[in-house]
């Protein structure tokens, strides 16, 4: 019989007690510095910041998707009364709480729009609207005040929900009150309804409306699928990184990595399902108003990015993550997690950039600045929320179930 020792949570180091606020501050300053550098580079291009804003949008949506995926995961675990995931749920709660940080990071997109810069969203340019009947038709939805108002609502809902889960779960670390679990379980169904509506319309607003003529009903689900993939990849890397510095080494076991690997694989397939549904139906019906969006993505250099996504975001990781052994070895699983984050970023780049650079791949220094800038700020926010609390819900009523968890 296989040896299976049930780990003991008391043997483990569970807090990032060594992290001082100064570390977060340094990271935040470095992030802002990178973004300023990107801004200067963008300014020098003299395109009314179009290049910078588009690149910033990609990185913003990338890091936001990780937090949104985390929020979905936390609410889902409570909805289904999951036991296995307790030891990794706090990390997801911390990731989800970063929606606050992302709300501030939305200002560089909203600010220029409010100030009259319409280089990112064509529909926000009054001259363009006057010249286009379709944009006039969409005006009741696509206008700057309503756009800003919706964004405020999205962030309020995400931020408050993430806060609710993190705060109640942390309170349970002291009291051990199972009533708190019930409270979160009861709210989780409503949370998922609010989540699905806000994410759908956020994806419509921020990504789909870049091409204001184009539309696709599955678009919200497409962004959601990518977000969950990015989240699982990040959670795996988050746990691996913590274990590298000697934290949660006992409580998060191979079994949990195996399970996360399975879920990562599952959502990679789900992403493929969404991508295929959207592409196949538009390709087959071949209605110009829809196919124009894919035409831009299958001509010139973007063809290779599209094919690269098919291979890199679906086929390679599908076969790569299929074997049981891959999901149970930290190095291999971690490598695939990094890979998935890279291709998820490319996926978002592919959603945004062909609108602004249909002829060539505009990848450059500005993109690097945006990734590192938003990334540093995201990391700073993460460490800030992680710093003051246990990294495992130590008194969750289902903790023992999670510690003893084994895959079949």
């Amino acid at each position: 019989m296989r040896e299976h020792r049930i780990p003991n949570v008391d043997d483990d180091r569970l807090t990032l007690s060594g992290t001082r606020p100064a570390v977060c501050a340094v990271l935040a300053i470095a992030g802002i510095g990178m973004l300023v550098a990107g801004l200067v580079l963008g300014w020098n291009r003299g395109d009314e910041l179009k290049g910078f804003l588009a690149s910033y949008l990609v990185s913003f949506c990338f890091f936001l998707s990780i937090s949104l995926g985390a929020l979905f995961f936390v609410a889902l675990q409570h909805l289904v009364h999951a036991g296995w995931s307790v030891t990794v749920r706090r990390l997801a709660e911390i990731l989800a709480a970063n929606t606050f940080c992302m709300a501030i990071l939305f200002l560089p997109i909203l600010g220029p729009m409010m100030a009259g810069n319409s280089s990112l969203y064509a529909w926000s340019n009054p001259a363009a609207v006057d010249a286009d009947e379709l944009l006039q038709w969409k005006q009741p939805y696509l206008n700057v005040p309503f756009f800003a108002g919706r964004a405020v609502v999205y962030f309020l809902i995400w931020g408050l929900m993430a806060r609710f889960f993190l705060a109640n779960s942390t309170r349970q670390d002291d009291s051990g009150d199972p009533g708190l679990t019930r409270r979160m379980e009861k709210f989780s169904a409503v949370a998922l309804i609010l989540f699905s509506l806000t994410v759908t319309f956020a994806a419509f607003d921020w990504l789909m409306s870049l091409e204001p003529d184009w539309f696709s009903t599955i678009f919200g689900l497409y962004y959601f699928a990518g977000a969950v993939v990015a989240f699982f990849a990040t959670l795996i890397l988050f746990a691996l990184a913590l274990q590298q510095v000697g934290l949660v080494t006992q409580t998060i076991t191979t079994e949990h990595y195996h399970e996360l690997g399975k879920l990562l694989l599952g959502f990679i397939i789900f992403w493929g399902y969404m991508a295929f549904s959207q592409y196949m139906l538009i390709w087959y019906a071949n209605i110009p108003e829809e196919s124009v969006w894919y035409l831009a993505r299958q001509t010139g250099p973007w063809t290779f990015v599209s094919l690269g996504l098919l291979l890199g975001h679906l086929l390679f990781p599908f076969f790569g993550l299929l074997p049981r052994e891959v999901k149970r070895r930290k190095l291999l699983l971690g490598a695939w997690a990094v890979w998935m984050l890279v291709v998820h970023w490319i996926d978002l780049y592919w959603l945004v950039m062909p609108t602004f650079a249909p002829e060539h791949l505009p990848f450059g220094l500005i993109d690097v600045c945006c990734i590192l800038g938003v990334g540093s700020l995201f990391l700073a926010g993460l460490l800030w929320s992680a710093r003051s609390r246990a990294l495992v819900p130590v008194k969750d009523p289902r903790l023992d179930e999670s510690l003893a968890f084994e895959n079949f």
Binding site: H81, P178, R182, T217, Y273, S277, Q278, L281
Partner: protein, 467 residues
């Protein structure tokens, strides 16, 4: 009938897992409760009454189909422009029903939802019978049914192949694959239970037949080891099928340019709707079956509670799809698409549209209330309404979109004929005939699996693993 006291296991307590089997059931009583249903020399009179009605309706189905074949498809209500009438509505309806079985048996298995063990057997059986009902319609509505084999790609002298770009061909492939895998999965899971029935059989015929289908099962550790692996692998293979079949069915509509049909959310939306209707059918059947056959301690209120939550969840997904479609019909700015939705809500088929919305989105919201999730007659009523709503959904999609598309001069209305009605009603007869036979002769509950979820003090001895 073994009387097992029933208590409440629907209370949610995070500090412990609710029992999945109630009362003082043990290994022997589970076997006894399940087997004796199939072993009684004569089922109760009411079974005969139900069976007679079902067989009569099935006769009606075959009579209608026979009349259709000898006369031609003009006997159906299909017309120009509504070329696809009730046969396709019924087909999509039944295929949808067939999704719950594999969801419960494969997907819930992979998610380690052990409560599935009490209901998976008859949910899978229901799947097979629903697929059988669905299969009738596309075959008979093609017109010249004696040429139906042309749908299959096979090498032939005329060098004639079906159009591989046609979703109708994908349908044939998807559904026959689904039917095959569902049947295999159902049968594989039943082998240990068939062996139990064989071992208990008292007549020669029963010994022979159950023995034949039990494939020589002895219950040795090696056999169980292989069985578990085969079951896991088959579950993993069946899971994508749950999603693919109704996705392909949705392609029948969504690849076209017909307003109201062509929209990218169709595949996941159809899958959600299929699971929604399938779960409702499981509840429709489970509520009377558990009361009638004395299975309340095995199919407990918690099982029904969980099923009702699944119905509520999938109802919300369907509602999401309706909402996004309507929003995009406006946002897209395409006048035909916008008209298709205005026409659904306000046109001549508005009654069907609002019946669909009421049954599919509004009524299932009652399941937020715990009392509705745990009161048999209420959940039965809601589940029946969901089935009505899901039939209406396919009717709305097919008839309202075809009836009024681009050219007002080609608009038309659809009127079903008596043959249409007879075929729909008859398909329910076929479904219930098969289901009643299943209840009579096969183990309705997966005994071997339920024994594995008994409380530890009454459950099986810890298994010795062989490596």
């Amino acid at each position: 009938m073994t009387a097992i006291p029933v208590d409440d296991n629907t209370v949610q307590d995070p500090t412990r897992r609710a029992p999945l089997v109630l009362g003082d059931a043990d290994l022997a009583s589970v076997t006894q409760t399940v087997c004796e249903i199939a072993e009684r020399p004569r089922p109760p009179t009411s079974w005969y009454v139900a069976f007679a009605v079902s067989v009569a309706l099935t006769g009606g189905l075959f009579a209608a189909v026979g009349y259709l074949i000898v006369t031609g498809i003009g006997v159906l209500g299909n017309n120009s422009p509504v070329y696809w009438g009730w046969p396709i509505v019924n087909f999509v309806f039944w295929i949808g029903i067939g999704h719950a079985g594999t969801l419960i048996s494969a997907i819930l298995f992979l998610f380690r939802q052990r409560w599935r063990t009490s209901i998976n057997r008859f949910a899978e059986a229901m799947t097979l019978f629903a697929v059988a009902c669905a299969g009738v319609f596309p075959a008979v509505h093609v017109g010249r049914i004696w040429l139906v084999y042309w749908l299959a790609p096979y090498p032939n002298q005329m060098d004639l192949w079906p159009n591989f770009r046609s979703p109708l061909l994908w349908d044939v492939v998807a559904i026959s694959t689904y039917g095959t895998v569902s049947a295999l999965f159902w049968y594989l899971g039943m082998i240990p239970d068939l062996a139990t029935l064989r071992d208990r059989a008292t007549s020669r015929w029963r010994q022979l037949l159950y023995g034949l289908f039990a494939l020589g099962w002895r219950g040795s550790a090696t056999q169980w080891h292989r069985f578990e692996w085969a079951y896991l692998l088959l579950a993993a293979l069946a899971t994508p099928l749950v999603l693919s079949v109704h996705s392909v069915v949705s392609f029948d509509f969504a690849v076209a340019q017909v307003p109201g049909w062509h929209t990218t959310i169709f595949p996941p939306y159809f899958v959600a709707g299929a699971i929604f209707s399938g779960c409702a059918m499981v509840v429709t059947l489970a509520v009377p079956a558990r009361a009638y056959f004395g299975l309340k301690s095995l199919i407990t209120m918690r099982h029904l509670d969980n099923m009702n939550k699944l119905i509520l969840g999938t109802s919300l997904l369907v509602g999401y799809a309706y909402g996004v479609e309507v929003f995009m019909a406006w946002y897209g700015g395409n006048m035909y698409e916008a008209f298709a939705f205005a026409n659904r809500a306000l046109g001549p088929y508005a009654w069907a549209y609002w019946l669909m919305v009421t049954c599919n989105v509004i009524v299932p919201q009652l399941f937020w209330i715990r009392k509705c999730r745990t009161t048999p007659w209420i959940m039965f009523l809601i589940a029946v309404l969901v089935n009505v709503g899901m039939w209406m959904e396919r009717f709305v999609i097919i008839v309202s979109s075809l009836g009024r598309d681009f050219l007002p001069s080609s608009w038309g209305m659809f009127k079903p004929t008596a043959v249409d009605v007879m075929m729909l009603v008859g398909s329910f007869g076929l479904f219930f005939t098969l289901f009643l036979l299943f209840c009579r002769y096969l183990p309705m509950v997966a005994m071997a699996e339920v024994k594995a979820v008994l409380p530890p003090d009454r459950g099986p001895a810890p298994a010795v693993e062989v490596d």
